[in-house]
Symmetry: C2
Subunit: 198 residues, 2 copies
């Protein structure tokens, strides 16, 4: 999951760890809070041992225009890494509700094709609907056995589920008919598609 997100970001441009974390925070900030270094650096290490990225130590001074910086480690994606990313792009994570994998996949929808997008959106909708039904069951069948705070929590959860289902419905409809929101990909500016909607 973190592996996927890292590959997705490095696909756009090489980066060092600190910058990677910042970008991850803004890109995935809507679903997860922040990525800790305790996961970031081991994952980078693992990706390198798999041959998906390369590490290059930049000592100082050759950053270019600006003043010297202290030594950093710049990570670059390899061809194997790009292949791995494409593979992960189409795979759904574990089929649980609170899987952060959906948010990460959605954040990189720009690089997936329409079929993949639809499949992932519908999978997510199914899971949220299942959870919604579970919450409705609890609220209708055992409401008298739960205290009012627990009930309020269930109601709020149910509300969030219904809202997300509606959101997903809109996205699916928009994806199916009409032009899907076209994307100005940073590294590969699509030359053949229409004007980007934004």
């Amino acid at each position: 999951m973190l592996e996927f997100a890292i590959l997705g970001l490095l696909h756009e441009s090489p980066m060092h760890g600190y910058e990677l974390r910042k970008q991850l925070t803004t890109k995935l900030g809507a679903f997860r809070a922040a990525i800790s270094y305790g996961s970031l650096y081991p994952t980078l290490r693992r990706l390198q041992s798999l041959g998906c990225i390369t590490e290059e130590a930049v000592p100082a001074g050759d950053t270019g225009l600006l003043t010297n910086r202290r030594s950093r480690v710049v990570y670059t994606i390899t061809a194997d890494g790009k292949e791995r990313f494409q593979e992960l792009l189409g795979s759904t994570g574990p089929e649980t509700f609170d899987d952060p994998g959906f948010g990460v996949h959605f954040a990189f929808f720009a690089r997936a094709d329409q079929d993949t997008r639809l499949r992932i959106l519908e999978g997510r909708r199914r899971r949220v609907e299942e959870r919604r039904e579970g919450l409705r069951d609890v609220l209708s069948r055992m409401a008298e056995r739960l205290d009012s705070y627990t009930l309020e929590l269930q109601r709020h959860g149910l509300d969030a589920c219904e809202r997300e289902v509606r959101w997903l419905e809109e996205l699916i409809a928009h994806e199916r008919s009409g032009r899907p929101p076209q994307v100005t990909a940073p590294t590969t500016p699509a030359p053949d598609s229409g004007p980007p909607e934004r």
Copy 2:
């Protein structure tokens, strides 16, 4: 966190592992999906070694009215465990946004006093507001540097934050003025309070 939830449930009545997991799933189901046995059993072990609960193996047949069941392990909270629970009841977890600790605390609000409830609700509100501001910053300042799917994700996250803040405002207002939702506690049926609101 799981420790807290387990103590809270065992506070109501002794239970065995499978039943504990089911209750946890419905009680906390609004915030987290399910608790895995891979966390449940080690936590139970830890709680027992701390003296907060006792394990008692029930071989078979003495469940009472119904037919014999196969052997189970029934966990019972101790006086130390109740003390530990009260301690955890007032403590806030890590100050991050996606901390599931808030949901768990909220699920056991019935056992906390009004001051504690207010403190935890306001702490949560502060964290969600901070995240909301972060998302607004991203949306206003770097909207042109993000693709439309990422933007849509941020918008949805921002919407969820605003909604949760409103929810928290209502809860805080309801908690401060007027009668807080009184609770029919399963083990200690409050004899001196007014009629429960539900």
